[in-house]
Structure formats: C-alpha cells, structure tokens
C-alpha cells in the first residue's frame, strides 16, 4: 500500500470517527439536559408543587398549582382556536383548492410559522389585550393558537394528500359526494397522521414563553375568569429562574421537569401513533 493511500485511508477513518463524535455530542446534550433536570427537578418536586399557590415573595414553600391549571387553560384555548383553522384549512388545500389559492395559503402559513414568537406576542397584545383592556387567558390562548395554525395546517395537508387517490375515486364511484368522501374515507384514513400533527403542534406551543409575557401576564392567585391574567408554567420558570431566591430556583427546576416531561411525553406518543398506524403509505 502506498503511503498516499495509507494517508487517505487514515483521513477517511479519522473524519468518519469525528462525525461519530459529533453525533455523540449532540445526543449526549439531550441526555445531559434530561439528567440534570431530573436530578434537580426531582429533588425539588413534591406534592405541594402541584397543590399549593405560590407563597409571598421571599418566603419558602408554596407551589405552582395555579400555573399548571393556567397552562392547561391556555393550551385548551389555543387548541380550540388553532386546530380547527389548521384542520379545515388543510382540507380545503388538499381537497378543494386550485393551485393559486393553495400557494397563497401555504405561503402565508409558512410566513406565520416563521414569525418569531415574541412578535406574535406583540400582535396578540395589540389585537386582544389593548381592545379588551385586560391581560387575559384569552389573549394568551390567542397567541399560542396562532402559533398552532401553521404547524397543524401544513402537516395535516401533507397527510391528507398522502391518502391514495384510489380511495377517493372508489368512494366517489360508489356515489358518495365529495364532502362525504372526505368525512368518511379520507380523514379517517389519515387520522393518525392528523392526530400526530395536532399533538406536535400542541407540544410545540406548550413550552412557549415569549408570547405569554405580555398577554397572559402572570397571577399569584387562581385565575377565575377567562378575561383575567393567569399564571403559566413557562413564564413562572422564567421569573423564578432570574430571581435571587434559592427556593424559587428550586421550584423553577421542578417546573422545568414537569414541563419538559409533558412535552417529551406528547412527542413520544405522537411518534408512536404515527409509526403504529401504517395505513397511510408514506410517499
């Protein structure tokens, strides 16, 4: 073997090993994040965390019960607003629209998807908070819902499109109208994919903080009405993390663990749904 060839083989081996190292580093970051959160959050989490209201500033104890419920309400509202628009919009794109309209809608959705979350916050502030004169769960839900629309829309459309045309034609040939075909054949065929899309969109906005800062705002108590400010887990993590109190840091870790656990669980479930249901052949 010539020296040159040996050198080339060495370079090849070395560089390929390096790529392996890169992959290792990337994956170990996740393991590290998870490990650190579980370690710190796990030691800080307790029954109180889920059942108590926050204690007055500087006093130890208390929990984030109101923030957990607040996050749930925000996400509920966001889904109520974002999912239907994304879902029905996707049906229009996949089944009804001409190519020009589809292009415009898709383009708008991509644009919306790329808008930094803090800018969504500004938008929700001027659209909902200022007119209603309230920081509110509504405004926060609106902001998060906006962020769900493009994700739901684009992936739902893709799954609808991947339903084989033979199924459509079969149903039509049996005399079913178009909307009946959609409702009874196409959507059920693609439902695993659609569910996955919705779940992923949900998980994506569950951890969003920036759009909530000046929409849902914060609340030290329970938020009783939809037009009142509410606490939420991500915002609590933010304010507690930058505070000087050790007890608050502890609770920020606990909240981080709960939030990340929720998001990763949804992600895993979503992927499991998709991989189990191979009724939709992926193109």
């Amino acid at each position: 073997m010539s020296a040159r060839l040996r050198w080339r083989k060495f370079v090849s081996g070395f560089m390929l090993t390096m790529t392996g190292v890169c992959a290792l580093v990337a994956v170990s970051v996740l393991c590290f994040i998870l490990g650190y959160l579980v370690f710190h959050g796990g030691t800080s989490i307790g029954w109180n965390f889920f059942t108590k209201l926050p204690a007055p500033v500087g006093e130890t104890g208390g929990g984030m019960a109101n923030a957990i419920l607040g996050s749930a309400k925000l996400l509920f509202l966001a889904s109520l607003f974002g999912v239907p628009i994304g879902f029905f919009g996707a049906i229009y794109l996949a089944e009804f629209s001409g190519s020009t309209v589809a292009f415009i809608v898709r383009y708008a959705a991509d644009l919306l998807n790329g808008v930094p979350s803090i800018v969504i916050g500004i938008f929700a502030y001027s659209m909902v908070v200022l007119p209603f004169k309230h920081f509110s769960t509504l405004a926060g839900g609106f902001a998060l819902g906006l962020m769900m629309i493009p994700i739901t829309l684009r992936s739902t459309e893709e799954f609808l499109r991947s339903v084989p045309n033979a199924l459509r034609e079969g149903a039509m040939a049996l005399g079913a109208s178009k909307w009946k075909t959609i409702a009874t054949v196409i959507v059920p065929t693609a439902y695993r994919g659609i569910l996955t899309a919705v779940l992923l969109a949900f998980a994506r906005v569950a951890g969003e903080t920036a759009p909530l800062l000046f929409t849902a705002f914060g609340n030290r108590f329970w938020s009783h009405r939809w037009n009142e400010p509410t606490a939420s887990l991500p915002v609590m993590i933010f304010t507690y993390a930058i505070s000087p109190y050790d007890d608050w840091h502890r609770q920020a870790w606990a909240a981080g663990l709960v939030l990340l656990g929720l998001i990763l669980a949804i992600n895993i479930v979503a992927r499991a749904i998709l991989s189990r249901g191979s009724a939709v052949p992926r193109s």
Partner: protein, 342 residues
Amino acid sequence: MKRIAGMILLAFGLTGILWADSTLSINGAGATFPYPLYSKWFDEYHKKNPNLQINYQSIGSGGGIKQLTEGTVDFGASDLPMNDDQLKAYQEKHSIGILHFPTVLGAVVPTYNIPGVDAALNFTPEALAGIFLGKITKWNDPAMADANKGVKLPAQDIIVVHRAEASGTTFIWTDYLSKISDEWKNTVGAGPAPKWPVGLGGKGNEGVTGTVKNTPNSIGYVELIYAESNKIPYGTVKNASGVFVKPSLAAVSAAAAGAAKAMPDDFRVSITNAPGKDSYPISSFTWLLIPEKFSDAAKRDAIKGFVRWMLADGQNYAEGLSYAKLPKEVVAKEIKAIDKIQ
C-alpha cells in the same frame, strides 16, 4: 377522540361553573422595589377577605405607569411619582386623574459581591458616581481605598449591574446621583431607564440581586430587603452632612422627617440626599397609583378598603421586611385622601 374531547370540555365547563363564584379580582402592576411587602400584604388581605384577590405583578415602575395608562390594570405602583406629562396623558385618555398614595419608605443600597470582602464598605458620593460613570474601574481605586482603610480591596475590574428595564429603583438611584454629581446630571440624568455608561442589565430588583450574587466583583443597587434576604453585603453611603450612614429603617425615617412635615397634597415628593446627619441619602417613598374614578363600585370599595387596611394594620408588616413605616402625619393625610376615590 370525540369522547376525550367531550370530557375535557365538560371538565373545563365544570371548573368554570364552580369558580364562577363571587370572587372579585383586582389587577395591579408596577414597582419591584416594594414587591416583597406587597405580595405579603395581598396574601394576608386575601386571607382576611377570601372573596377578594389582588393580583400584583412586579414588572417595574415604568411598566406600572404604562399599563395603568393603557387601562390594562386597575391600579399601578411606582417608586417615582408620575410626572406632569404622564398625568396629562392619563387625563386625556381617561378624562380622570390619578391619585398617589405613599405606602412605605425604602432605601436603595449599593450591594456588591467581592470574594474575600465581607465588611460593609463605605461609599462616598464621588465613588458611586465614578463607578457608575465607568470612570472608576478597579476595586482598589484610591476613591474606594481611601474611604475603606483596613479593608483589602482586590485589583479586579468592577462589574456594574443595573436594571434592564424602566424602574423606579433606578429613578431613585439616578435621582440621587444627579443631585451629587454634575457630570452624572449632564451626561446621564435622572430617570427610570437612563442610557447607562457601563454595566450589565438585570431584570427587576430580583434580577439585579441575582446577577450580583452570581457575579464576583460586581456592584449593583437594590432595595434593602433584596440585599438582606439574600445575604449579600451592602455598603454605607456618605450623606449630605458628611456622615457615613448605614441603611436602616431609622435612617430612612430620619430622611423622611423633613418631607413628612411639608407633604404636598398630591404626595409627590423626592427625599434623596435629604439633610440631617442621621439621614440615609438614597431613600424614597413608594406609591400606589389609583385612578380617581372606578366604573365598578365593587372594585372601588375593595380598593378603598385595602388602602385603609394598608395604612393601619398593613403598616405593621413593613418593618419585618425592612421597609420603614409611613410617618404619622402622612398616614393622617392619606386617610383624608381616600375619599377622593370615587
């Protein structure tokens, strides 16, 4: 799928019904300086009046004034009185006025984190102005060393920490610096969000305290309670009479004594660099900003009730959290002013 969605809907509906009780929520926002005390007050007041919850968010005095003007909160709180322009802006927008109610007094203290130095450092006005102007950059600068004989100051870079957002604490701090340093007055000025010559920004008193605590060789300025409850050292400041005064409740009350006797009717007054040899020079009142008129009578009565409680029982919580009680004259004057809320 549908069933799950239905159940979720039902659950939310139920919580909605269960909670559509008579609880009255009042929202306020503003200063972080009195936040520890306010959150204690609102927590205690909620325990006494379970049907009333006052949600206070410490977003900074500037934010309190802004959100009050936008009408997104029911009341504001600030460490600097609203200026005439701001009052006019509010008047134009809502065609009513804003009332200022002093709640307590507090001190803004220079706090620092120098590894190996536990002593309370002495700060001359010149040293403080120099450090925050970026003219004094090392801890062992003569301006610091001369006032602190016997303390071994390191030859390290001073890391200045200030507030990242518009803040009343900053106003008190810069108001003081403007009174003692012409250079500060002319280049930076007094205001809630000046253009800082040097330093890092931390969000809120909480953020500045956190940053100082985590950053060796740093100096920041925070309300006394933040330095005390986080066990970071704070220094004495030389007052107008040339005495180094340790920030304390007595020293703050001493600074307020003069102003208490000549309190203007709208309670807007500055007591930084106050005369008197016992006065701590960086002291201030902090105010609740309450609109003159409420369209919702329940809210109006609740707020009036709270202010009345705050001026009586509420004052007893102040000293435990390192705020000075209001002078008696001021309390008497405020009780009369409560009736202006309609």
